[in-house]
Amino acid sequence: MGPQHPMTHGLWNLRIKVDGETIVDAEPEIGYLHRGYEKIMEVREFQKNVVLTDRLCYVSSITWSHAYCLACEELMDVEVPPRGQYLRVITLELQRIASHLMWLAAYGPDLGLLTALLWALRERELFLDLLQLISGARMNQNWPRIGGVRNDAPPDFDQYCRKVIAHFRKKMDEYANVFEQSKLFQVRTVGVGRISREDAMDWGVTGPNLRACGARIDLREMDPYDAYPEIEFEPAVARDGDSYARYKVRMEELKTSCDLIERALDKLPAGPYRAKQPRRAEGEAFRRTEDSRGEALFYVIGDGDDRPYRVKIRSPIFSTMFAAPLMMRGNKVADVVAIMGSIDVCVGEIDK
């Protein structure tokens, strides 16, 4: 299946070995979108790479550039001012909601529910508007900076946020009615693409896909960064490890993100939003964050110059993709779409 198959959401190929209709084995084949990110970043200055990392995944660009900025701050020993930290949390969660809605918009049509596409994109646009309000761009915002964020929030930003969230909460109940009470949706997802918790950990699955197996592993809680330790929240967890559990976790996360945004807005301190950063750095540092898809890690090495000596990008879906054959074995060919859709593939970050 692929690289030009409607289910692939990007360019990648899946080789499937079948016995009749049953999948015996599968092997993903990637690399169609390889742009040599890690090499390009070696000749560009630290600050200039922020705009590149945005484009790792256009669906959740802020989470990626933010992860890169965190790693650089660790390397350069820069402390982000509190207001910058809170603004980051707010935009990260807005971006997470937009990303999960994009997933929902892609996943619905995979299962034949075209309503999902229209509804999720409609609500996503509201969150993209908020991001546009604060950063000036719908996508590829280029918003986090090493040492803080690019600009302060516009006046009345919190009121716009609260209004959108209140509206979105009502819509989420509608979503739940449409999907969870749909027989079709249940048949296509419940019990399909199951993976055990041990297998998932062994193969390096992270993020919502791991939390769907019953593991309470959320890096916002376990290895907190920015203002996350000061804001209470409960990570979403589901038990079954099938496609339906992955759907449930993401829907719960939408609610968690709404709560997080509201709490961060309540606590948003005044003051500077960006710290000065040095241009040069030496040594090595890494930071990991909870991306919308799992554990994102940047490992940056500096050799005293104003550009990194080596940058390593750890993409969560890169590992998850190769755990997908475990989910698929024993299922039918028709379920491939339902399974691969449920893990939320983003080829931009896999291929780097």
């Binding site: 990637i30 690399g31 390889h34 040599g36 890690e38 090499k39 390009i40 070696e42 000749v43 560009r44 950990m201 062994d202 193969w203 390096g204 992270t206 593991a215 592993i217 376990m222 290895d223 890494f286 990991r288 554990e295 890690l297 490992y299 090495i301 110059d305 550009r307 080596r310 390593k312 750890r314 890169f318 590992s319 190769f322 755990a323 291929d351 780097k352």
Partner: protein, 161 residues
């Protein structure tokens, strides 16, 4: 954290002479540097004694005079991250694979092989993963040139290499 000291002491007891560096980077993050021959022993020890269950990533670094294979290993149960830097001579880029210990290492080792050309001995399927199968180079090596003239790069940098 109380757990960190226990980690460091246990590692020092077991691998005292083999460790080139053992330090606490920050809370819950430990860094150790070893030679390539001790890698599997160290990883097995970490897996059995410290419940390391997740390979976050494997990075290959070209230091011009030697290579380094950097492992970021995570124990979810204890919430600790361990960075292992294993050094590899430049003229013989081989190191033992840790895929037999964690399946998650599989793709990361393939990626490091693909882009940096380090051979992971004992890997079940060490083939190119991102680049085409018939590609001849390992582009992340420092002797693989960049197209500098097509990007904006300051003059000072071009002069300095």
């Amino acid at each position: 954290m109380a757990g960190d000291g226990e980690f460091l002491a246990a590692l020092r007891d077991r691998f005292g002479a083999a460790l080139r560096d053992l330090s606490l980077v920050r809370d819950r993050v430990i860094r150790l540097a070893i030679d390539r021959k001790d890698l599997v022993a160290v990883c097995k020890f970490l897996k059995e004694k410290f419940d390391v269950e997740h390979v976050t990533c494997i990075t290959a670094v070209d230091w011009r005079d030697h290579f380094e294979s950097v492992y970021h290993l995570t124990s979810w149960k204890r919430n600790v991250m361990i960075q292992v830097n294993a050094s590899i001579p430049h003229d013989d880029p081989r190191i033992d694979s840790i895929t037999p210990l964690w399946n998650g290492a599989n793709v990361h080792e393939r990626e490091a092989y693909d882009l940096m050309g380090i051979v992971y001995d004992g890997h079940p399927n060490l083939t190119r993963i991102l680049l085409p199968k018939d590609y001849e180079f390992h582009p992340l090596r420092k002797d693989f040139p960049q197209e500098l003239d097509r990007q904006y790069v300051s003059r000072r940098k071009i002069g300095g290499g």
